[in-house]
Amino acid sequence: MARHVVATVDQIPPGQRLLVQVNGREIGIFNVEGEYFAVANRCPHEGASLCKGRIVGLVEATGPGDYQYSRRGELLRCPWHGWEFDLRTGRSWCEPDRTRVRSYELKVESGGALIEGELRAETFQVTIDKQYVVLEI
């Protein structure tokens, strides 16, 4: 397990995403209303670049014709076949136990804290006064 600084927080505004490479793996970093999530850029169904899909909310229903919309921006819809994945867990909506995309631990840390600790900055010159997205992998 190593920690990787992958972005500054201002690189990923709310509702946006950033695709990064860590140890040769493509990983999408998503900012959902100030919370950050990371999932592999590979749909477990047919291998599409999952992180290029639409960011959507959760659609449910209590019955026919009754559309319940919640969790805006917390699901990722595969750019090919439209399978939905929960950014918080990596689980697919339709087969939560069977089909998941790999998700990763993320933390937001200040530059000051990072400089004092052990880290690997792949592309960043870390400065004390900024906030960074740190991926554990």
Partner: protein, 367 residues
């Protein structure tokens, strides 16, 4: 958090070699076709547009769950709809997916469904030339399909004969929602021309004919509409069998494209069973229907069936016949199949090569 990888082995241990039987080219703008279309029809389209048998002049009656029914990642950076950029098609599909030959299936304007027959025929001529000039001449891996406006058999036959000697074309393309079932006698001159020109007939999902997509009325949802194409294709196959087309034209070869596969064994069994009971009505059908299908009908693989187990899929292929399956991706549409992962089954190398390459090579006589 447990790790999830693709359930199938990563098929990277060998070089992909694929013939893709279903690629949809698009126009950046409809003016692209102007050089090939008579002034009168350019004017006509500008003023009246398409005139089809459904409610919207420009839109599909069941909006898809993705714009342009396309992969979200297939939009060219320079603008234009998915499928309109040859550069992106190469970079995103032909090169990385090992496509050695790709069959173009243009769907724009739906010429065969145009109620104005002369417009339909003019559009087929223009779109056929457009395929060659805009695509095949620019990219030697691509092949064109002879679009025909099947409701005008005279024009259709003329177009088939005009393109028959051109090696850029590998097949004749018809969308199944025709005025009448494709086995009906009015369409037979087209089959005669196909045999004369040594071209297979490919029937790709689509068309509008005013008939509801089920025998019991219209569907409300895209989920139903998307499913219904499998029933539509069953009706096409039954029509070609029972109306006697396959009997009368033993040289005719038919591809059912994008209609699914799961229904083939049950349709065959159903046709055989009830033909045995009712054959006095159709004495021109001289042998069990499944035999005609086995000999003269091929099926493209996308959208691939995904049964629960590998064994079910292998059993399905066994029942249809491995040599009748033609791999297709449907690029750039949303239900695209990737040649590496489409088959949820443990295939041998030989089986994989047969499905991805060999069957189509033989079928389209690409040597």
């Amino acid at each position: 958090m447990s790790t999830i990888e693709l359930e199938r082995p990563r098929a990277s241990s060998y070089k992909l070699r694929v013939i893709d039987c279903d690629i949809h080219p698009a126009m950046t703008s409809w003016t692209e076709v102007h050089p090939y279309l008579e002034a009168r029809w350019i004017e006509h389209l500008s003023v009246y547009g398409s005139h089809l048998r459904h409610a919207f002049s420009e839109a599909l009656s069941h909006p898809r769950m993705s714009p342009d029914a396309a992969r979200i990642d297939a939009y060219p950076e320079e603008g234009g709809p998915p499928g309109s950029s040859l550069e992106l098609m190469r970079k995103q599909h032909l090169d990385p997916n090992g496509i050695e030959v790709g069959m173009l299936i243009p769907l724009r304007w739906n010429p065969g469904s145009q109620r104005n027959l002369d417009l339909g025929a003019a559009l087929t001529r223009a779109m056929n030339t457009w395929q060659v000039e805009r695509w095949v001449k620019q990219e030697p891996r691509l092949r064109a399909s002879v679009l025909v406006a099947q409701e005008d058999t005279v024009a259709s036959v003329a177009e088939i004969d005009a393109r028959g000697g051109d090696p850029n074309f590998t097949q004749i393309l018809i969308l199944p929602k025709t005025d009448e079932p494709l086995g009906r006698r009015r369409y037979w001159p087209i089959y005669e021309a196909a045999v004369r020109n040594n071209l297979p007939i490919t029937i790709h999902v689509g068309g509008t004919n005013g008939h509801p997509s089920t025998g019991g009325g219209w569907t409300s949802y895209y989920m139903e509409e998307h499913h219904s194409v499998a029933q539509t294709m069953q009706a096409v196959v039954a029509s070609l069998v029972f109306e006697g087309v396959l009997e009368r034209f033993p040289q005719l070869r038919v591809v059912i494209m994008e209609g699914g596969l799961g229904w083939v064994p049950s349709l065959n069994a159903r046709m055989d069973k009830h033909w045995a009971r009712l054959r006095s009505e159709v004495p021109h059908v001289r042998k069990p229907p499944s035999e005609y299908v086995r000999e003269q009908v091929w099926f493209s693989t996308q959208p691939m069936e995904e049964p629960a187990t590998s064994a079910e899929l292998i059993d399905l292929f066994d029942r249809i016949g491995w040599d009748r399956l033609l791999f297709s991706t449907d690029y750039p549409h949303w239900d695209f199949d990737d040649p590496r992962y489409a088959f949820r089954a443990n295939l041998t190398q030989a089986q994989r090569e047969q499905l991805l390459y060999e069957n189509a090579r033989k079928f389209y006589r690409l040597d």
